[in-house]
């Protein structure tokens, strides 16, 4: 009985949990509810993933209004993959946040934190599951607005400025996106993505459609922090509460990448995007710029959260690089890196949250000798760092394998070298941590530090473990990613 309603329940459960928390106004209850909603979302996502595994497409007509007139929720292999990713990360983070957020957010605001958390989750899942362009915009706003609040809850007062920066940039992005959608509506008379995809070829070469493509690209790239539209990201990541940083890094930017993929390959079809406009070349250049410039900037950061934030910008470059290849191998690499990087960066930010709990702001000058004081945390960060570098037997290696292979397949051997060279920059900043953690004598202030609490270590290590496990067993990740890539490319041709 419930089964046909799963696509909508995916969004509705966390969405309904939010007002309930405001009514009860208790932090503990709010946490329980947020956890229950996240776990339920994960269960639903897994069920959906299993049901579309054979290539079926689930269509859900909201309020029984048949699409394209009503709002349609549409689950295929591409977004089912994303739903699993988002909901599982959200579940891990919410379990972690009980201890972590309690230390960072005033008690009387705890319930608000979890309210925003549930709304953010609902928004992210909504963006992923919906098949309607305007509905997508609404969920984009829901997730963005709740994110602004979540960032502003950070202990550091600079969190307010960071949130404000993101608010401005995010609003510009959302506006651009909605202008693009409006132009498409103008030309096709529909907001349903599938319907739009069918109608677009007749008007594909017209100027408003190309303008729409440009607007949507810029709008979405602001949200996914493609270089040079990433300026909001480092501060937002650095000053937000630790759990929020992990959630944002692992899910928010990834969902935006999904939106880009959905529009590029499914709505516009690769033909318009990659032939009428030089999108492949633009993406390629910006991705390379992100990989090199952001990694270089990361090397010179003193705040570790900022360092890994810049690393995120660089890693997003790898994902968009995979997209720019416009081939099965390249897209597989991009999508699998989206998944892999979510695991790795999620793990890293969760572990950093543990350090932040003990030392406050995590800077290189106050974590000397931390490898001896917090060995489990420090070793986890090293493992995460190795995954960023792309050492074999970590997820990072799998991504790199596909990206380099895609570069070689397209005949661009120089690009293969650029990809591996940029990962050497990663070695530099990961090794900065290694040397600080293991080579410096502990400062007197650090010498009394205890290991992070178990309630934070276990979720963090769950992600660390996943980023090693999926480096060895890739049936789920590469399997899902290559299916998604094939579906995307088929959708476009």
């Amino acid at each position: 009985m419930i089964a046909p309603h799963l696509p909508v329940l995916q969004v509705v459960l966390p969405l309904l949990a939010a007002p309930l928390m405001v009514v009860v106004r208790r932090g503990g209850f709010a946490w329980l509810l947020a956890t229950a909603a996240s776990v339920a979302a994960l269960g639903i996502a897994l069920a959906l993933f299993a049901r579309v595994a054979d290539g079926a497409v689930l269509s859900y007509a909201m309020g029984s209004w048949p699409p394209p007139w009503g709002i349609e929720y549409r689950v295929d292999r591409v977004n089912a993959f994303l739903l699993v990713l988002v909901s599982s990360i959200a579940t891990v983070v919410v379990i972690y946040s009980r201890t972590s957020v309690a230390a960072e957010v005033p008690r009387e605001q705890l319930y608000l934190f979890y309210t925003m958390y549930a709304l953010c989750l609902a928004g992210l899942l909504g963006i992923t599951v919906t098949g309607d362009a305007f509905n997508l915009f609404v969920f984009l706003e829901i997730s963005s607005l709740s994110t602004y609040v979540l960032i502003a809850l950070g202990r550091d007062r600079r969190a307010l400025v960071a949130s404000y920066q993101y608010l401005i940039m995010g609003t510009i992005g959302a506006t651009f996106f909605v202008i693009g959608v409006g132009l498409l509506y103008l030309m096709t008379g529909t907001l349903n993505l599938a319907d739009m995809a069918q109608r677009l070829p007749q008007v594909a070469e017209s100027r408003p459609v190309l303008a729409a493509l440009a607007f949507i690209t810029v709008g979405v790239c602001l949200k996914l922090a493609l270089f040079p539209l990433h300026l909001w990201l480092p501060n937002a990541y650095a000053y937000a509460p630790s759990a929020v940083t992990a959630l944002l890094a692992a899910t928010a930017t990834k969902v935006s990448v999904y939106v880009l993929l959905r529009f590029y390959f499914f709505v516009f079809g690769g033909t318009t995007v990659f032939i009428a406009l030089p999108m492949a070349e633009i993406l390629l250049l910006l991705s390379l710029a992100a990989m090199f410039i952001a990694s270089t900037v990361a090397i010179f950061q003193d705040n570790l959260k900022r360092m890994f934030a810049y690393s995120s910008v660089a890693q997003i470059g790898y994902i968009t690089l995979g997209v720019s290849f416009d081939s099965v191998t390249g897209l597989t690499g991009g999508v699998v890196h989206l998944f892999n990087h979510a695991l790795t960066k999620g793990a890293l930010f969760l572990l950093l949250g543990g350090v932040a709990l003990r030392v406050g702001v995590v800077r290189f000058d106050n974590i000397g000798g931390i490898g001896r004081m917090m060995p489990v945390t420090a070793f986890g960060i090293v493992l995460g760092g190795l995954s960023l570098i792309g050492v074999p037997a970590t997820v990072g290696f799998v991504s790199k394998w596909y990206l380099v292979l895609a570069a070689l397949e397209s005949g661009a051997w120089w690009l293969a070298f650029l990809i591996v060279l940029s990962s050497l920059l990663t070695v530099a900043y990961v090794w900065r941590f290694v040397e600080a953690a293991y080579f410096r004598e502990p400062d007197p202030a650090v010498a009394r530090l205890k290991e992070a609490p178990l309630a934070m270590l276990v979720p963090a290590w769950l992600l660390v473990g996943a980023s090693v496990y999926f480096g060895l067993d890739t049936v789920l990740t590469v399997g899902g990613a290559s299916q998604a890539a094939q579906d995307l490319l088929r959708g476009g041709r």
Partner: protein, 489 residues
Amino acid sequence: MTPAGTILFALAVPLAAMPLIAVSHRAPNVREAVTLVTATLLFLLVASLTPHVLAGERPEVTVLHVLPGLRVAFTVEPLGMLFGLIASGLWIVNSLYSIGYMRGNQERHQTRFYVCFAGALASTVGIAFAGNLFTLFLFYEALTLITYPLVTHHRTEEARRAGRLYIGMLVGGSIAFLLVAIIWTWALAGTIEFEPGGILREKASNATVGVLLALYVFGICKAAVMPMHRWLPAAMVAPTPVSALLHAVAVVKAGVFAVVKVVIYVFGVAELAALGNTEWLPLVAGFTIIAASIVALRSDNLKRRLAYSTVSQLSYVVLAAALLTPLSIIGAALHIATHALGKITLFFAAGAIYTAAHKTEVSQLDGIGRRMPWTMGAFAIGSLSMIGLPPAAGFVSKWYILSGAMATGQWGAVAVLAAGTLLSAGYLMPIVYRAFFLPPAPAGGHHEAHGEAPLTMVVAVSASAFGTVALFFYPEALLALSRQLAGPG
């Protein structure tokens, strides 16, 4: 136990030893016993595979599929058998030696040292038995990472710098060149399994093969072919047992082993020889031999001199492989073993001198042979092996390399080998001469109250010296393995 089971067991034993060593950190005797038992067990397991390989079998086992067609799999073939035997056998001797060295010098963090050592040996066995390029790469990187804490054991500023160079060059080279080469091979051949005769036949243009070969040779920085050698002298900051087993045997041999393996099983010896655009490789290897020997000649620090000697000797293996004749391939395989025995003896001696007399420079060694006759006697035998004189094992491998070069008329290589021999006599013999024939320097301060090094160290250095001589008289087993490499299939 089936051979496949033995392979897995051989990998599992040192891995299982790591937590055991870690938990016994309060009882050093138990901890060292675990290491010794593990090393012995590992050697027996590896040795038990030898009859199978000699009988022509190629035991193999697949552990898991990472990507379609990309497996973690192990195949024992003669070259890997030989490397595995040497590394695991010398681990026993080295463990004995480590006990004396680490206790004698009152080193800190000994538990971490032994844990990492066990991990390094597990990685080495993984490299030796790797059945494809991916497995090789996996354990190659693992070996770099697990030896990093060993290289930087003292956690000093100097160790930190050396560690940077170590990680930077080894990880950097392997990702920037080796990984690209592997993926490129995959893209061309559709497989990265090691197969006799190579996998690139008619799959790639001549130019591509040339570029690929360069990527492999320079990407495998552990082979220390110039200019990718700088990390090796830097790594000498580590405690001497690390320099002895890892930077004379396991790590560097993993490098040349990988080069030889790639030449035989990825490119194919005959294929490369037919290709004819690989002349640059003997040149580079020859240059490394000569240049590194000259640097060694000018180094007063004993470990640094030995390190450059290693750089030079490693390129003998690369040169032998690059000659692309059956005889020189035999020589390459043998030289992996003979140089390992000889060089570990030399390092053992250097560490013994440091422990007993706290001397690190060649110029301080006048007359030390009278106080440490066993140590310096072993050093003399190791030196003979380096130079390639009977009755030391180095003679056997050099003989084959030289025969290969002469048989195909590659006179340039012959000249390099001759010059290398003279140079190695030049940088090693003066040490032996000083030790035995020069009077001790006049007493200056605290020194001269020392005798031999601790017993376990003397036993270890004598054992490896004995092995060096024994291998000269009884090279049959290793020869049989090496011949299989050069023979058809």
